[in-house]
């Protein structure tokens, strides 16, 4: 049996169905949101309700791929594990050959290139994941600025100011972000926006979210449940206030 026949082939009307099915697999995954603030990047993921006997600490959806780059994914966890391992090895290989840390853009390009390769090779299927890659890079004035990249199963990659991957409501969440995003958000504001967006999809608040704040110089901070709960409370209080104002003006 020959394993050199391609699985991903064109349909008569120009679709790559395997890639589109892979994107459907991404939609079935849990939501991941990335928001670029003016001095940080927020990665927020939905932690789907776990089985009671499962240890939540062994489920990681936001992972470091290099000391200065962090990745969140949506889709098939096993595929993500394979792709992340390849990416980590690539980061160290880059460090070994170039004696410098790879840029976030380089890592995103590598991940995208790998994902595309698997759509054009015999015997393999595409990766069923989309990724959000966060870190810091240099702008034209040689200053450190936050960057956020996204890749998808087709192998495309691009830079985003805010993006949502995974979950059934990705489109409406993106619209929510478009409406409420502004370019000048500090850490607190950006975190609040991320939590607000996640609250639209997540069942019951802080314990079903994982929020990671990527700051400059390779620093990142994963918020504890207590810290997230504080932000959730703040948002819920604002919603209550908004409701009360509405009822008081209408009555």
């Amino acid at each position: 049996m020959s394993y050199d026949r391609a699985i991903t082939v064109f349909s008569p009307d120009g679709h790559l169905f395997q890639v589109e099915y892979a994107m459907e697999a991404v939609r079935r995954g849990s939501t991941a949101i990335g928001i670029r603030g003016k001095d940080c990047v927020i990665l927020a993921v939905e932690r789907r309700a776990l089985a009671k006997l499962q240890d939540p600490r062994t489920i990681r959806k936001i992972v470091p791929v290099d000391s200065t780059t962090t990745l969140a994914f949506a889709g098939l966890t096993a595929d993500a594990r394979v792709l992340i391992n390849k990416t980590r090895t690539e980061a160290q290989t880059y460090r070994l050959t170039c004696e410098d840390s790879p840029s976030v853009e380089y890592m995103s390009r590598f991940i995208a290139r790998t994902q595309q390769k698997y759509t054009q090779r015999g015997g393999v299927r595409p990766f069923g994941i989309a990724t959000l890659i966060a870190g810091f890079g240099l702008n034209d004035e040689n200053e450190q600025v936050p960057v956020l990249y996204q890749t998808d199963p087709a192998g495309t990659y691009s830079s985003w100011r805010a993006q949502v991957i995974g979950g059934r409501n990705a489109k409406s969440l993106r619209e929510f972000l478009e409406k409420n995003y502004n370019d000048d958000m500090g850490m607190k504001e950006a975190t609040k926006l991320a939590v607000q967006a996640l609250l639209e999809v997540v069942d019951s608040g802080a314990k079903n979210m994982e929020i990671c704040v990527v700051k400059g110089a390779g620093e990142k901070h994963t918020m504890t449940e207590a810290e997230v709960a504080v932000v959730v409370k703040e948002i819920e209080a604002e919603i209550e206030e908004g409701k009360q104002q509405k009822t008081s003006t209408s009555s």
């Binding site: 791929v65 000391s67 391992n85 980590r88 160290q92 290989t93 460090r95 070994l96």
Partner: protein, 201 residues
């Protein structure tokens, strides 16, 4: 010929190496740092031709970085790192050997102790309390045999290292004016002193 030696003490390890990069009758460089940090709490002091020295230590340190990243920040123990190095040397031995003789020193937070491993280019590995690679062994091992004891503190260990360096400058044929000394303990890998600043390349 390189001089590389190390001493283990209570709560850490000291590694020392000469800083000359020379071949035949020429000295290329006299501020080379032959002690590479492998992980936040371990370092490898290497003796051998510059190409193999750099290639081997960088390769090992990058692979240990992958391990740490893939395992949620967990570091390999010094014992595991030493055996990993040995394994790489052994695999390369019958393909394209690395001609490196090394001393791996590390600190394990779980035991609160330092450990020193002696490795030669045939991939022989041994855990030691103190060790030397190269011609230094002929001069320094006897000093260490006499002065080392269980439960030394850092100052006493540094004193032994200084004694060895003094002996070498007096009795060893090759002139090695610069030595770099690094300490590995609970605070990580730090340079204690150097003869010539390695950053000044």
């Amino acid at each position: 010929m390189d001089t590389v030696f190390g001493v283990e003490y209570e709560g850490g390890v000291i590694l020392a190496a000469d800083q000359s990069n020379a071949r035949s009758i020429l000295t290329y460089q006299s501020n080379l740092d032959k002690i590479t940090k492998l992980s936040p709490s371990s370092a490898l002091a290497v003796s051998g031709p510059n190409a193999d020295l750099v290639n081997f230590s960088e390769y090992i340190s990058k692979n240990l970085a992958i391990y740490q990243l893939s395992n949620d920040g967990l570091q390999l123990s010094t014992h595991a790192q030493a055996n990993y190095c040995r394994g790489e040397l052994a695999t390369a031995l019958r393909k394209g050997p690395y001609q490196v003789n090394c001393l791996l020193g590390g600190y394990d937070a779980s035991s609160g102790k330092g450990s020193l491993y002696w490795m030669d280019y045939f991939a022989a590995l041994s855990k030691v309390n103190y060790g030397c690679q190269g011609y230094a062994s002929s001069f320094c091992l006897s000093i260490m045999d006499r002065d080392w004891k269980e439960g030394l503190d850092q100052d006493q260990a540094v004193a032994i290292v200084d004694k060895c360096i003094k002996e070498l400058s007096l009795r060893f044929l090759m002139n090695q004016p610069n030595f770099i000394i690094k300490v590995i303990d609970k605070d990580g890998v730090k340079t204690l002193k150097f003869g010539s600043d390695p950053a000044d390349t």
